[in-house]
Each structure stands twice: as structure tokens, then as C-alpha cells.
């Protein structure tokens, strides 16, 4: 590893003519690639070699590396290149790669960013992170092992993310005597598998990271191999960003630049295509058209800009345009829709909850969205489709996604930037999933806006929710109001429109004239039922928290509402527990005879027999109960 390869910077040129060197270096292009493969396939050694040969490792770093290799390395007295790339303490201790590491090197033609991605299934989310920005994937195979489960899984993920170029690097050729037959057999095996998952073409290269065969130069040890060395291939392969320039123009508006009243510019990075001053463009979703007046940059106006550039555009007309809008070629603008089929990669410890409202971020748009139960999950080790009700950490499946308002998009395989999205949990703010849109299920652009009847259905549609009544019943002190409050908070966070009816806002107003006789109790419940019904007509989710001791009245309230819109929640707290809590001191008073007709003491509580949800407050906290209820609500279709 001491002689310098001519592909890398030449010290001679640098010393003699630094200006000439800089001139060439300034015109380099940039390629991003990932390396993946099983644990012992030699990824780190390969990267270490590329870094070393391009002089990205300095003498002092090499000294540290040598010392560390002897101390904690796994290669005996040899240099353990894994120590170069595994940067986290936990990684060095466990000898595995947990998170993706980015490394940089350059040749005379290109700058390279290599993402070294973890191989273990449990770190799939980190591999996807590295893969999502890559132009190319180097899939390493140990020549002695051939195609393994890990190889198949990584290849599937590479195909899923849509990485355009795949290199099959058959490594450790030195350990199989540079056997052409071994190489050919592995390539044949892989070809069969690759075409089954949609990888139509790949480039296979026999290499040895350790011995340096076919890495920077074609090796004499493999005379039967006629293709390029790995680095040759990396230097010459087409760039995705260049290909994107051929497509139709699209730019998502990131920020409106308005320094004064005379200037209104739309800033963004061009996703695909190119744009010229004078071009007619359409702003989506509004559909308004205008022409490009200027392409503004600090170094002076441009006449044309292409995919990959960050620019600020001004238009000839004053039309509405803000963050989230997409400026596109007028004659070929992207679609707008609110229901899609998508592939989803789940990346959170907490599984997908179908129906729950998450943030969906796509391009510069962020909307509320929910996911239907998956159509199927993919077994990433053998690509089999499995039935699934949810997706757990690292699970990959296909499901329908609905957004609360139409979004501008393109299928992922047409346009990565306009078809790739992430889901964010509204409570924890974690990035919980990545998705790739396939197609829209219903085109919003075909929805005709006719004069519509403002009825129950319309109210509910506007609020994007199914109205219902969550009817809490239980003894005094059972925890109804506390749980009801928590439920309302959760629903609020999830963008649901709710209203809570309880003793505080009903007893003192609407039902001020009622006492606690059996007759008054019945009238109390009837009125609450009627109010709740009106509120569901307005499209609200109504939460009621009253003792409502009698089965018949609860049945009456149930009957006022359409089937499925009355959800009875029995807060099942045993009398002795409720009495022990006695938050308001009412049980004490009732026992002392100071309160008459007190439920549970001298007035009966009729335990529900058909409550949809039963909460045992001795087993869960109010917050847990609330979460349980909300989860139940959004799993209405679940059979169990």
C-alpha cells in the first residue's frame, strides 16, 4: 500500500503546478455510493484501502490505527480497517457497525462519498438512511461463501430504494485461488436472484480488498476477467443527477424570499429537469400559470438552471405560491392526490398503528396522514409476501396511505424527490417510517366541486373524521373524567375535533334544573344524549363523562346514533376502590347519610353488559387507559 496509484492525486503535479491541479480538481463530479454485505465480507478493508490509496489517511491517523489494531482490533497483528469506519464506542466494543458512516475520497476525475452501511437486520433503518442518497451500491460477497441471506436482503433494499447502479464485488478472490469458475458460479447465482427482485443489470467484479486486486488497477491474477477495475467503474458510471436533467422541470418551493415589496422570489432546489428565463410554468396544486422572469443567484442572474441546483425564481405574474407548492413545466405538471398505495419501511420500536394520524413529509409539504392495515408484508430474507395487520421495527410492507389534504407527488420510481416520504410520530416527534409512493388511488384533480348539501356527511368530511360518541360510564370516583380528559388531549394532538361533556359544563348550565332523583337522572342522561347527537351531526367526536348508572338510559343514548357511532367505555373500578379514593369526600358524606341517592351506596349502578371498551383502573394508569382507548378507536376494523 505504499506506491501511489496514478488515479489519485499526483504529488508531482501538486508541487510543480498547483494552479493546474486546482483547475482539474474544480471540474470533478461527485458520486455517492454505499457498501453493503455480510459481516465478514471485507467492507471495511475495501473502504480502508480506497481511503489509504487516495491518501485520505494521514500518517498520524495510521499510527493511531496501528496501535488500536493491536490493542482492540480483530485482525491479529494486521491493521483492522474496521476501526477506521466504526466511529462509535459501542461499535468498537461490540465489533459491529450500528450506524452508517460517511467517508470521503477523491480521484483525478471524481469526488466520492461512501456510506458504509450496517449489515445486521436490526439496523435496517440505518442502512436505508445511507442508501437513500446513493447513486450506486457496492454489494460485497465473500467468494468462499457465495450469495447469502444478507446479500439477498441488502439487494432487495437497494432495489427498493431505487439505487440505479449495482456493483457485485466478489471479494477475497485471493482465498479461492482467483478461480474463474467460482466467480462465474456466484455471478450466475446472483443473476437469477437479482432478476427475480427487479435488478435488471449489475456489474460483477472479482476483487481482493486485502491484496488489492482489481481495486484501482486491473489485476494480473485474474487474466480471465475483461471488465474494469472497481475504481475505473466508479469513475465512469453515469450520474443520477445528470440523468435527472432530462426529465420534466419540477421544483418544490422551500421558502419565499421577500426582502422588500419589489421582490418576491421562490427558493428551492430543482428536483428534475431544467428551467429557462421565459419558460411557462404551472404552480401546483393551484394550477395557476406564469412565466419565469429571473433566475436569481448572488453571483448574478442565470439564463438557465438544471436539476441539482439551488436557485431563487421570480415570476412575471403576482400569483399565489408558497412553501409546499411545486413549480413545474406548464404542459407536464405533476399530479395531486390524497390517497395512495405505497411501500413502507417501518423504523420505530413502536409498531405501525393503522388509522393513527402521523405527520407525512414529502418534498417541502407536511400533512397529516394515516396508514391502512398493510396489504402484505415482505419477508426481506426470501421476498415472500406475508399477511400482516401492522408493521414492526424494520418491517417492510405495502399499504394504502391517506393524507388529510391533497399533496403534489409523482411515483417514486419516476421521481425520488417527489415520491419519497417520511412519517413522523406526532407525540414523540421520531421519524418512524420511510415510504415510497406507487400511485394514487383516487385523483383529487377529478373531484368536481359542485354545490353540495351541507349535511352531516359534509361536516364530517370537512373535519376529516368519523363522528362518534365516547360514552364513559362508571361509579363516582372511578376515574371517568380523568381518563376522558386524557383521551381528549390525545385526540387533539392527532388533529381530531373533539368536545368533552361532563358534570362541570352540563350540570351548571343546561341541566341546572335537575337533581339526583331517579327521574332527574334519566332526564339528565336524555339531554346529554341529545346534545351529543347534535354535536356528532356537526362532525365532532364527543366524549361524555357521567356516572349514567342505568342500562336503559345508556341504551337510549346509543339508539339516538347511527350504528357504530356510540362507543360505551365502562370504567370498571370496584366500589371499595372508588370509595377508598373518595377524591371529593362524597362517599364519606353518603355513608354518613348527608347525601341521598348516591350511586353505589343507596342507588344502584347497573354494570354494562355490552360496553365496547372496559377499563380496569386498578391495572392501568389514566394515561395508559387513554392510549388504549385511542388505539381501539383507530383499529375499528380489527376483528379481535
Amino acid at each position: 500500500m505504499t506506491t501511489q496509484d496514478p488515479k489519485f492525486k499526483t504529488d508531482a503535479l501538486i508541487s510543480e503546478d498547483i494552479d493546474a491541479y486546482l483547475e482539474t480538481h474544480q471540474h470533478k463530479s461527485m458520486l455517492r455510493f454505499i457498501t453493503c454485505g455480510s459481516v465478514d465480507d471485507g467492507k471495511s478493508t475495501l473502504i480502508g484501502r480506497l481511503l489509504y490509496d487516495s491518501k485520505m489517511i494521514f500518517e498520524d491517523q495510521l499510527a493511531t490505527l496501528e496501535a488500536d489494531s493491536k490493542k482492540i482490533g480483530t485482525q491479529g497483528q494486521n491493521i483492522d480497517f474496521a476501526l477506521l469506519v466504526d466511529g462509535l464506542a459501542a461499535e468498537r466494543e461490540q465489533g459491529i457497525t450500528i450506524d452508517v458512516a460517511y467517508r470521503f475520497f477523491a480521484t483525478e476525475k471524481r469526488k466520492f462519498i461512501v456510506a458504509d452501511t450496517p449489515g445486521h437486520e436490526q439496523y435496517t433503518r440505518n442502512m436505508i438512511t445511507g442508501a437513500s442518497t446513493a447513486d450506486l451500491a457496492v454489494i460485497l460477497i465473500d467468494a468462499r461463501q457465495g450469495v447469502l441471506t444478507q446479500t439477498r436482503r441488502h439487494s432487495y433494499l437497494v432495489q427498493l430504494v431505487g439505487i440505479e447502479h449495482v456493483v457485485l464485488a466478489v471479494n477475497k478472490m485471493d482465498l479461492v485461488g482467483y478461480s474463474e469458475d467460482t466467480f462465474k458460479q456466484i455471478v450466475a447465482d446472483y443473476t437469477e436472484f437479482a432478476s427475480s427482485i427487479g435488478i435488471d443489470s449489475f456489474t460483477a467484479i472479482p476483487i481482493s480488498g486485502l491484496a488489492g486486486d482489481n481495486i484501482t488497477q486491473v489485476s494480473k491474477s485474474t487474466p480471465w476477467y475483461e471488465g474494469p477495475a472497481l475504481l475505473d467503474y466508479l469513475e465512469n458510471v453515469d450520474l443520477v443527477v445528470t440523468r435527472d436533467q432530462e426529465k420534466s422541470f419540477r421544483m418544490a418551493v422551500q421558502w419565499v424570499n421577500r426582502p422588500n415589496l419589489d421582490f418576491r422570489g421562490f427558493s428551492g432546489q430543482i428536483a428534475t429537469g431544467s428551467v429557462k428565463v421565459g419558460d411557462t410554468v404551472r404552480v401546483i396544486p393551484s394550477g395557476k400559470t406564469s412565466r419565469i422572469a429571473r433566475i436569481v443567484t448572488m453571483s448574478g442572474d442565470l439564463t438557465e438552471a438544471v436539476a441539482g441546483q439551488s436557485v431563487t425564481l421570480t415570476l412575471t405574474d403576482e400569483i399565489d405560491c408558497s412553501r409546499g407548492d411545486v413549480i413545474a413545466t406548464a404542459e407536464d405538471a405533476p399530479e395531486v392526490a390524497d390517497q395512495f398505495e405505497a411501500t413502507i419501511v417501518w423504523m420505530d420500536d413502536e409498531p405501525l398503528l393503522p388509522g393513527r394520524s402521523y405527520w407525512l413529509k414529502i418534498g417541502t409539504q407536511m400533512v397529516s396522514a394515516h396508514v391502512q392495515p398493510p396489504k402484505y408484508q415482505v419477508n426481506v430474507n426470501n421476498m415472500a409476501h406475508l399477511a400482516a395487520k401492522t408493521l414492526e421495527l424494520n418491517g417492510i410492507g405495502v399499504a394504502e396511505v391517506a393524507t388529510d389534504k391533497p399533496i403534489v407527488f409523482e411515483p417514486y420510481d419516476v421521481n425520488r424527490e417527489m415520491g419519497g416520504f417520511i412519517l413522523i410520530d406526532k407525540i414523540t416527534n421520531a421519524t418512524i417510517a420511510a415510504g415510497m409512493l406507487h400511485f394514487s388511488l383516487r385523483r383529487s384533480k377529478n373531484v368536481h366541486w359542485q354545490a353540495i348539501e351541507v349535511d352531516r356527511e359534509a361536516h364530517s368530511q370537512l373535519k376529516n373524521q368519523k363522528p362518534l360518541v365516547l360514552w364513559f360510564t362508571g361509579l363516582s370516583g372511578s376515574g371517568k373524567s380523568t381518563i376522558a380528559n386524557e383521551v381528549e388531549k390525545l385526540l387533539y394532538i392527532m388533529n381530531r375535533h373533539t368536545f368533552l361533556l361532563d358534570g362541570d359544563n352540563v350540570r351548571h348550565g343546561l341541566n341546572r334544573d335537575l337533581g339526583f332523583t331517579d327521574a332527574d337522572r334519566v332526564e339528565n342522561i336524555r339531554r346529554i344524549g341529545e346534545v351529543a347527537k347534535l354535536m356528532t351531526d356537526a362532525g365532532l367526536i364527543v366524549i361524555t363523562a357521567f356516572i349514567s348508572p342505568f342500562r336503559a338510559e345508556r341504551q337510549m343514548a346509543r339508539a339516538m346514533l347511527p350504528e357504530g357511532e356510540f362507543v360505551e367505555v365502562f370504567v370498571d373500578t370496584p366500589l371499595d376502590v372508588a370509595e377508598q379514593r373518595d377524591v371529593k369526600g362524597l362517599y364519606k358524606k353518603a355513608r354518613a347519610g348527608e347525601l341521598n341517592n348516591f350511586t353505589g351506596i343507596d342507588s344502584p349502578y347497573e354494570t354494562p353488559s355490552n360496553a365496547e371498551i372496559r377499563i380496569n383502573t386498578t391495572e392501568m394508569s389514566a394515561k395508559e387507559a387513554a392510549r388504549y382507548i385511542v388505539d381501539w378507536l383507530f383499529n375499528l376494523n380489527d376483528s379481535d
Partner: protein
């Protein structure tokens, strides 16, 4: 001691003092091993801690900027630049930099194997130390009792780049903070160092 108090505590206090929720920083992934693993949008707890093993996935150009009150995000827009990229960009765009990056005759003393520039009377000379004029420049600029200079004749930007390309030691060797063992930067970052 000096660095910890300033860089870590000072920064945390400053961010809290002004209530900044997102701080842009110039760190690069090629600087150090734990930085090579860090996201562009790097989430910090209310106590400014970095949870290295549990970073948010970061796909495509979709950055998750969601957080609750008290939490913050450090953003590194230059994550994918290398030191050479920075220098070339400065050269191409004619960006003004501190003249100390370029070699010139400056008063220096040698202490603990480092060349220290005598900038002004805030720097007390030790017994027997007499400042000597040397042609020096700085590869990095920290706080001056900590940052060593290198002897150099590179008085222009292209000469600096030339020297950098031909050098065989890593950029940050002049900085005392990085002389610690592997993993120390990760620890500092967990505690809130930028």
C-alpha cells in the same frame, strides 16, 4: 478544563439564553470518526445531549425538524464537505478568511512541543521565554493558548492548499483537544459539545 467550560457549557448556556431552537454549525463528517456518523439534522435533548446509538433515520433530503419545547437541533450544512473542498471553495469564491491561516513572520515561543504565537499581553511568558520571529501559519484556529502554529512559507491561498495536499499529518493535530483517545469526541458530543 478550558475547552469543556467554554465549548460545552458556554454553548449550551448561550443557546438557552437566547432560546435558539436550531443552531447551524460548520462541522464536517471528515473531521473525526464520531462526526462521520452524525446526521445533518442532529437532535438534542433538553439537556443538549446527543444519543449516538439512537439517531433519527434521515432519508433523501427530508429532514425532521419536529421537536418539543426545550429540545433543540444542531444542523450541519457542510457535513459532506472535506477540508480540501472548503479550501477550494474559499479560493474559488474569494471568501475572506483570518490572515493567520496564511504564513507571515510572527513572534512565537516554543512550549510543550508546540509553537505558540505571542498575540498580545494576555499571554504571559514563562521564565526564560523570549519571543522569536518565525514564518508561521495556523491550520486551525482555536483559542490561542491551545492552538499551535506550524512553520510555513505558504503565504497565499494556493500555497496553503498545496501545503495541505502534500502534508502527511491530519488537519487537527495542532489542536490540544483532539489528543485524547479514540471515542473522546463522541463523549464530548454526548455532553453537548457542538
Amino acid at each position: 478544563m478550558h475547552t469543556d467550560l467554554w465549548k460545552t457549557e458556554g454553548l449550551k448556556k448561550a443557546l438557552d439564553h437566547y432560546g435558539f431552537d436550531v443552531a447551524l454549525g460548520g462541522a464536517r463528517r471528515d473531521e473525526e470518526k464520531s462526526r462521520a456518523k452524525e446526521r445533518v439534522f442532529s437532535f438534542r435533548s433538553a439537556k443538549h445531549r446527543w444519543d449516538a446509538k439512537n439517531q433519527r433515520p434521515e432519508l433523501w433530503k427530508l429532514y425532521n425538524a419536529q421537536k418539543t419545547k426545550g429540545e433543540s437541533i444542531r444542523v450541519f450544512p457542510l457535513s459532506n464537505w472535506t477540508e480540501l473542498d472548503i479550501w477550494q471553495y474559499i479560493h474559488l469564491e474569494s471568501i475572506e478568511i483570518v490572515p493567520l491561516y496564511l504564513a507571515a513572520e510572527r513572534p512565537t515561543v516554543e512550549r510543550d512541543g508546540m509553537l505558540i504565537m505571542v498575540d498580545d499581553d494576555r499571554f504571559p511568558l514563562q521564565n526564560g521565554e523570549i519571543p522569536v520571529q518565525r514564518s508561521i501559519r495556523f491550520r486551525t484556529l482555536g483559542c490561542y493558548p491551545l492552538t499551535g502554529a506550524v512553520e510555513s512559507e505558504a503565504a497565499t491561498l494556493t500555497e496553503v492548499i498545496q501545503e495541505m495536499l502534500l502534508t502527511t499529518t491530519s488537519e487537527r493535530q495542532g489542536r490540544a483537544i483532539d489528543h485524547d483517545s479514540a471515542g473522546s469526541m463522541e463523549k464530548k458530543k454526548q455532553e453537548g459539545y457542538f
